[in-house]
Amino acid sequence: MRAVWQLWLQPCRQVLVAALLLQLTWLVGAILLACTPAVGAGIAGVAATLFGFGAWFWFTLLGLSVRGLCRPESFLLPGFRQRLAAMGTLQVAQWVLLPTLVALLMRVPHALQGGAGILLLAAIGLAASSARYVNLLVWALFILAGWQPGLASQLGKALVASPWTVPLALLLAALIARLSLRAMLRIEDQEANTSPLENVQLGRSRARSLDGTPARRGKLAKRIAALFDNTSQWAMEQALARYRAKPTWRLRMVLVRRLLLPHDNPLAIALRLVLVAAIVAFYVLAMMHRQHFNAAVVGAYAVLLGLSRFPQLGRGMRQMRPNLADLYLTLAPPTRADYQQTLIDALAVLVPITVLTTVAYTGLGIVLTHAAEPVRMLIDAAIVTLGASLTALAVHLVGPEGGFGRGMVDFVVTLGGMAVYWGGYWLLGTLGIAFGSAVLLLVTLGFGLGVWTSARREYLRRPPSFDAPLA
């Protein structure tokens, strides 16, 4: 049992706060369920919702933690799989079996269906930790509910009444759990490491485990990655050839950019736009089918997508630090500040790239949703992203070192960018396109440039760091 206990402890050791909150959720759910005889069956529904969402998130967390543990070397631990299975059984007992049993004893209506539903959500959570596309199942339900609420309601009633609901849910849960566990427990050769500064904007569906190890990629993802790698290689060769023919400062900078940002060459950007179009189309489709759909929301999503490039940049720059010593020696800058300036110049290209891609995403959204005011949305998106990407780049140059601080900064910058987009949209509508744009540009660019200038000054003042980041 010691080994099972050690396995159970892992999510708490890695993300204590989230683990405690989710266990608290379970506790509140249990208390509410216990109150059912006194308060009535309605409270059991609230408890079931808490158990359902709690199980979804807890098992996602558990999956992320277990995936980090499931490295080939771990399978050398005696009885590792069996102990993992025992720990999983205990988790299912806590989140599903125990509440269901208590509900059955209290004769709570539809207790079995509720239990089966919680188990299904737990399985989806577990699968989402390694293959987030499984979450699309839940998304699909939300889309259906938003698109055809009447149908969804009828379907819900039919499911509650049907004797097939429970076995079907159990079957589906078993299938999903098997799919996710098979991926986790498979021993395969480690893939070659990719550059920490690669653009993984697309790979957000490619979840990372809590210790930062990337998820194993499927065949399609591997092919897409190979396409990106080919574009990087091609871009690097082109940059090298041009630099050899004419070694100017500008071409040298291109070379540095190709090294630092392998997926930010024109071909890769085009490829990314095409692929993201599919994701954007899905989002737009999902939003369109809501009853109170607002086309302007597309721009906010585009800002979110555009800015999601920067958190990876922050993480990647820290991981790259030991390797950057090689770049430093190769560039042989006259002063350390010159080297820092070179890095700033190389990374600054992300600002126009982010603006262009965000505008492209917005344009795509406009076409898909037949938005009424495309010009207003495009101008708003362009101006806001300009300021927001300058800010995001600045805070990642000199921002906090720790994961929590970086996470908070990313959260604030991204949400701030989306909020400013909404504000800008209102401003352009109220003051008119020309005047509104000028005011918005003044405010956002003023703020962005202010933050950027301060961050740049601070970054130039700092000595280059080549220390490997601590855990």
């Binding site: 050690q6 490295r71 771990s74 050398l76 631990l77 809590l210 210790d211 855990a471």
Partner: protein
């Protein structure tokens, strides 16, 4: 100029006892590149096996395949008499492994990691683990991600030998260690080997350690095991023959048991198995050369044969 003669050295295997490890026809490819080309190998219990091979020869791949940590394309691997398709079963209590680089669980503290690992084993020498942590100055409260590469390697060694395994597989375990730690590690290894039936498979480039452990030497080259032989036997049977004459050698002289010939200036350096001094003296006087017969070090042998 050097040439390697195609004379095969017979593989060594002790057939009197059931081998700890039996590999047959093991093949392993990475994409189109075949790294292991039909490995046949047996390891008897109670021996230290030094696995030698040049960089990229496939030593790490072979060791990982043996333990089921890397899927194989063909062949079979038997550990303790059972087929090893994937790591599992009671025999895992008897196996210890030190990977080439230890990059697991950076968020864990040293103590938590050892507690976590110990929980899985039926046998765990807490006193040994504690003593090594102290001797090797590993702070139990430090996170693994904050340890240097050498410290991580020390931790991996502690973790591998604390369960007192019957088979210890070490993939270049001392590459990141300082000389003190390397000596301490070798002392622990030799102590462990005092118990009966303990087997160690040890991949390394530091041949002095293998000499200290009096290991059987296995050479991996061109994706295959070239030979497995006790070090003493190699020393006894392999000699370097140096023939020197003015004007040099247009081609290597023909000598029985020749494994490799290197022509350098006036010298012909020959690696010869079971050299016959009389015939060599006769050859030297016939060719008008002076003769020197030397016993090569293991490193010399590695350089010549790998």
């Amino acid at each position: 100029m050097s040439t390697i003669a195609a004379t095969p050295m017979p593989p060594f295997a002790d057939t009197r006892v059931e081998p700890v490890l039996r590999v047959s026809g093991l093949r392993k490819c990475f994409k189109q590149r075949e790294v292991l080309r039909g490995i046949d190998w047996e390891v008897p219990p109670g021996r230290v096996i030094g696995l030698l091979g040049r960089n990229g020869a496939g030593k790490t791949t072979l060791l990982r395949c043996l333990l089921g940590l890397s899927p194989i394309d063909a062949g079979t691997v038997e550990l303790f008499g059972e087929t090893m398709t994937e790591p599992g079963g009671e025999r895992m209590h008897r196996i210890g492994f030190v990977p080439q680089t230890f990059d697991l669980f950076p968020w864990m503290k040293v103590r938590a990691y050892l507690d976590f690992t110990a929980a899985f084993y039926a046998r765990w020498n807490h006193a040994l683990a504690e003593r090594l942590l102290g001797d090797w100055q590993l702070d139990p409260k430090q996170k693994i991600g904050e340890l240097s590469q050498g410290q991580r390697q020390k931790l991996a060694i502690v973790r591998a030998i604390a369960p007192e395994p019957d088979l210890l597989v070490l993939d270049e375990p001392v590459a990141s260690l300082d000389p003190q730690a390397r000596r301490a590690f070798m002392a622990e290894l030799l102590e462990l080997m005092k118990a009966p039936g303990k087997t160690v498979i040890f991949s390394t480039h530091i041949t002095a350690d293998l000499e200290r452990a009096d290991a059987d030497i296995t050479l991996l080259r061109d994706g295959a095991i070239q030979f497995t032989r006790p070090l003493a036997e190699l020393r006894e049977r392999l000699h370097r023959v140096v023939l020197v004459r003015t004007g040099g050698w247009p081609q290597a002289p023909v000598v029985a048991g020749l494994l490799k010939a290197t022509l350098k200036g006036d010298e012909a350096q020959l690696l010869v198995e079971d050299a016959n001094p009389e015939s060599l003296h006769a050859l030297a006087s016939r060719e008008g050369a002076t003769l020197r017969i030397e016993t090569p070090t293991l490193e010399d042998l590695f350089v010549e044969l790998a």
